[in-house]
């Protein structure tokens, strides 16, 4: 009884310490993420050029932005790029995963080979593919040396096709990761379900089409969310591979934002493009994260 104040102190301490421990991280995140987002949103409504300035211009930057052919080009490019990137990565990843799941000899060697590009920087990937795809020195040149004189593969120098080279390099980098996600999903499927389906007379094709692939729904969802946010954030790869060119053939919103903000001194427009990027990602991520966190409770 005598130590009543003592013991209260320990309980009180225990009540406050966790919050105190969490607070530095929380402070950093609130300031550097959410504070900065608000600041950038604010800038997107101002006449900022080379430096932030606080003259309110309403939606002028946004209307300018949407009139810029540079921006619409980069959006179109992103559309093509994201669609192909997500589709091919998912298809290739799923295919590799299903094939690897057939008790393949050497799986332990193949799996790391598919996955290692994920450990590389996009700058390294870009450098490698840049020369591989270069007609003067890479694949085309090699084919010519091997006697296939008519072989032509100059997409990286071609305005109409350059964006597809970005897709190739990006797929090379990430598809192994998608494979790993699907493989984990496949290994998680109860083998008794598969046996039951076989006893029911399902062919391999039907087994996968009707039973396995529908069961992989969560993996598809995760793959889509991860790939789409990677697509929207793609920046390094384009810089290293094509630098946005030829012309504007491989400009993406991320490169657009950077060049308008830091080299063309149109900070207001740059900020508004960043806001649009954020909103696109938020539209995908927030429902996903909400569902994930809710489920967990």
């Amino acid at each position: 009884m005598a130590q009543a104040s003592d013991v209260d102190f320990k309980t009180k301490l225990q009540h406050w310490i966790p919050k105190v421990v969490l607070s530095p991280s929380l402070f950093l995140v609130l300031l550097f993420v959410y504070g900065f987002i608000l600041f950038t949103v604010y800038l997107s409504f101002t006449d900022s050029r080379i430096l932030p300035s606080y003259g309110w211009v309403g939606f002028e930057n946004y209307s300018k932005l949407w009139r810029l052919s540079h921006w619409t080009t980069s959006l179109t490019n992103l559309g093509i790029y994201a669609f192909l990137y997500i589709t091919i990565c998912t298809g290739l990843g799923l295919g590799l995963a299903i094939f690897l799941d057939q008790k393949i000899r050497g799986e332990g060697i193949l799996r790391p080979i598919y996955l290692y590009p994920m450990a590389l920087s996009f700058i390294v990937t870009g450098t490698a593919w840049k020369w591989f795809l270069d007609p003067g020195i890479g694949l085309e040149h090699t084919m010519h040396l091997w006697g296939w004189e008519s072989f032509k593969f100059d997409w990286i120098k071609n305005r109409d096709y350059a964006i597809y080279t970005v897709v190739i390099a990006a797929v090379w980098q990430t598809s192994g990761f998608v494979m790993a996600m699907f493989l984990a999903g496949l290994r998680g499927i109860d083998s008794e379900i598969m046996k039951a389906a076989q006893i029911d007379g399902a062919s391999n094709w039907n087994l996968y089409r009707r039973i396995v692939i529908p069961l992989l729904r969560p993996a598809f969802l995760s793959a889509f969310v991860i790939l789409s946010h990677l697509a929207i954030k793609s920046y390094d790869l384009v810089i290293a591979l094509t630098g946005g060119g030829p012309g504007r053939a491989t400009e993406l919103p991320a490169t657009f934002m950077y060049s308008y903000t830091f080299t063309r001194n149109q900070m207001g427009i740059g900020a508004s493009s960043a806001v649009i990027m954020l909103m696109t990602i938020a539209a995908i991520m927030i429902p996903y994260l909400y569902a994930e966190l809710k489920e967990k409770k």
């Binding site: 950038t40 057939q102 393949i104 969310v225």
Partner: protein, 293 residues
């Protein structure tokens, strides 16, 4: 991914199996080829590359390009090679990884074992910060770094990477500690251990695997970062990725492809090494960062 969970049911015919093996082998060529070309050509003298076949093995094996990439190549304006930038990256990566991992471990511990009202919302806020397009923070970040007087410095980059690494490291530890029995924490409380004693004596000794996962993930991410490096640390303070890009994109003089390739491999080496040594944990980190664990 336990072996016992492997599906035993699917039967495949001979032709199908052959097709599967061919497909898998072709795929592995696709993944290996670019790196193979880089490696082979980094070991050739320049004349062999411009005149010859990129698929061919070197006629004259030489590590000259590697030496050049490391210590004499023109990066930006100085002929320093990539060496100083490699050390820049190391000086940036090590503290950033350590700090973000420690913060993530403490956050995960609080968010699972010392729950309070609205903690899920706070975690959601931290988690979302992993996925934002970093373009949205570039402008104010540049200003803050300027105001703090650390723009263009390694310290500035450490701060940036810690801030944007907290989300992932918290995610890892939270998911890991969520599966850690809460009864142990309660038993320790009854035994009289305080907040930090429980963390140090009970939680940390069981956290080995997740620490490895988190460190690998943060290391790979921060080492490979280009956007922040290019935005906040150009010049002599630049990290490896930025320096590599400068080396490769420099428009002056003859393009020394073999040096570029050697440089690219040098830039990839640390993360590749981690991948080879601890690939298991690398994959686990990727999965936890995507399928949440």
């Amino acid at each position: 991914m336990s072996a016992s969970a492997q599906n035993q049911a699917v039967q495949t015919g001979r032709i199908t199996r052959t097709f599967i093996y061919v497909f898998l082998l072709v795929a592995s060529l696709f993944y290996l080829l670019p790196f193979f070309i880089m490696l082979v050509n980094s070991l050739k003298p320049l004349s062999e590359i411009t005149g010859g076949n990129m698929m061919a093995l070197p006629q004259t094996w030489t590590i000259e390009a590697w030496g050049a990439a490391w210590s004499t190549a023109q990066v930006g304006v100085e002929p320093t090679g990539l060496r100083p930038y490699f050390w820049n990256s190391i000086k940036m990566v090590v503290p950033a990884v350590v700090i973000s991992t420690v913060l993530g471990a403490l956050n995960g511990y609080v968010l699972t074992k010392w729950r309070f009202r609205y903690d899920t919302i706070l975690f959601g806020l931290m988690l979302f910060s992993c996925f934002i397009p970093f373009q949205i923070v570039l402008i104010p970040m540049a200003r803050i770094l300027g105001m703090l007087g650390i723009s263009g410095t390694t310290t500035g980059l450490i701060l940036v990477h810690v801030v944007y690494g907290i989300g992932f490291s918290t995610l890892y530890f939270r998911n890991y500690y969520a599966a850690f029995p809460t009864e142990l924490v309660r038993a320790a409380q009854i035994d009289g251990a305080g907040f930090f004693q429980i963390f140090r004596r009970i939680m940390l000794p069981s956290s080995g695997p997740i620490i490895v996962v988190c460190v690998i993930w943060q290391f790979t991410n921060i080492w490979n970062d280009f956007l922040f490096g290019a935005s906040f640390a150009s010049g002599s303070g630049a990290p490896m990725t930025v320096a590599l890009n400068n080396l490769v994109q420099s428009s002056t003089g003859v393009k020394e492809y073999n040096v570029h390739f050697a440089g690219a491999i040098l830039a990839a080496l640390p993360t590749l090494l981690v991948y080879i040594v601890a690939g298991r944990f690398f994959v686990r980190g990727l999965m936890a960062g995507s399928v949440k664990g």
